[in-house]
Symmetry: C2
Subunit: 280 residues, 2 copies
């Protein structure tokens, strides 16, 4: 490793794609990003996001502005392939589609996720900011709740939790001590231990916290049907603040909104997903 | 017209699709649903939603649960074709993709919109409701602001406004009298004059109000890049209440959230779009 070369971060290793054709990529889903039986959905969007970046960058559109992912079947650790296609390229934006496939035991590859995304160049957007949503006030990270407090057996089968440095607001983490607040909110500080945030890692940040159903004392798996993320600005270095909330937990489903602020207080990403509530 | 046959509503006429093959449909974009140079985006999603319904209904999945649409080029009045494909069919849900094309002056058809959607059966969802978001309190419809107050020349070139009965909360409609409230909120009562709401018309309702940029006194066109809508319950008959809000108007773009309640106060649909702000 040369003097100016940084070691590759865990996140960059886990989202690496290798071109195998003009619009096809090989990837590997790492077991270390698994939660229960499936690889974390935010990591998967980041991986698709990297393949789409490779596809759209030559047109001058390296950054995700919006990406919508539909989860078709659970992704397990192991090899995967990604195919991309460009739907439209304009002056300031490109729209592309990507699919992730996995072949299990040599069988025909099964589609795991399909995404559509519009990419552009965040550095070329106008600077004006009229954002009205304010970053929540949190206790400093050292007075927040780490993932080592997540109840067993949740933690035992979630190596993903060791990939992140997450410090949850104690006010909304009382489910970790058996006293769920039942407000449908989880928020905290988030960073990757070996990497600064960038537009791709924001796609991970929007789906990295425990599901808000935990705040209702419900600890089962919450499979995402669909997640759309908007990346609105290049994040500054340092801690992110992430807030997850649901306001419509009904009919066996819930929407989960995520808001991500960078260390300067800029609202850099938003997402919403529709998920299936754990069966009671 | 027989005794038990109702005349077809404007909305049903405008979203009619005619199968031209196993997964292809002919449609017609009606000039009466135009705003400025383009057909209303909510009407277009409803149209795609109807084609997807036709595709997914045989599997027992007639209702949109979530649909994400990416707008590739502006749709004009005139003939259109829609192609659909099923990505996955499970026990309770199907996921499908649809594209709308238009050929202008006999040229090669151009893709206008691509959507992915997951359909299910709203009647079969569990009944429990833990929704925390409350329907806003509005003055009764007769004390709200009709679309006849929308300033000229906005109204002159927007026949779409005559398709709806929209009564805006005067508190958030001061832009109609030159005093924009600058809170990024527009809300009101909404109904189709000749039809009760259903899951498909909720896809129109989420994008039927004027853009929230009007509340900032900015009256230019606000093109949608992407819109995702969740339909969460069968709406009851009667007026809908729709609230549009933006909380992140920055970098020349804005997110716009819509919430739709039915006449019983149930939150029946939510949407979020990413749109480009008018160039100043």
């Amino acid at each position: 490793v040369g003097v100016h070369e940084r070691p590759v971060s865990d996140f960059d290793l886990a989202t690496a794609v290798r071109a195998s054709g003009p619009s096809s990529y090989d990837a590997h889903l790492h077991d270390g990003w698994r939660i229960g039986g499936a690889v974390n959905g935010g990591l998967l969007i980041s991986l698709l996001g990297r393949a789409i970046r490779d596809t759209c960058k030559p047109a001058g559109h390296p950054d995700p502005l919006t990406i919508s992912a539909y989860y078709l079947s659970p992704s397990g650790a192991g090899p995967a392939t990604i195919s991309t296609s460009v739907l439209r390229t304009g002056r300031t934006m490109s729209t592309a589609q990507a699919s992730l496939f996995q072949a299990v035991d040599g069988a025909v590859p099964v589609e795991r996720i399909r995404a559509i995304a519009t990419y552009g160049d965040l550095a070329r957007l106008p600077g004006e900011v009229t954002t009205s949503l304010e970053r929540p006030a949190l206790p400093p990270p050292e007075r927040c709740v780490g993932t080592n407090t997540v109840p067993e057996p949740l933690r035992r089968n979630a190596p993903f939790l060791d990939r992140l440095d997450l410090r949850m607001d104690p006010e909304h983490a009382r489910w970790t001590i058996g006293q769920p607040g039942r407000r449908g909110v989880i928020q905290g500080w988030l960073r990757l231990p070996d990497r600064e945030p960038d537009p791709l890692s924001l796609l991970l940040a929007v789906d990295a916290l425990p599901p808000v159903t935990f705040d209702y004392g419900i600890f089962g798996w919450v499979p995402t049907l669909e997640l759309t993320a908007h990346v609105r600005a290049q994040p500054a270095s340092g801690w992110l603040v992430v807030r997850h909330a649901t306001r419509n937990f009904a009919g066996g489903m819930l929407e989960e909104d995520a808001e991500v602020w960078d260390s300067t207080g800029r609202l850099v990403a938003q997402s919403r997903q529709l998920a299936r509530a754990p069966r009671g």
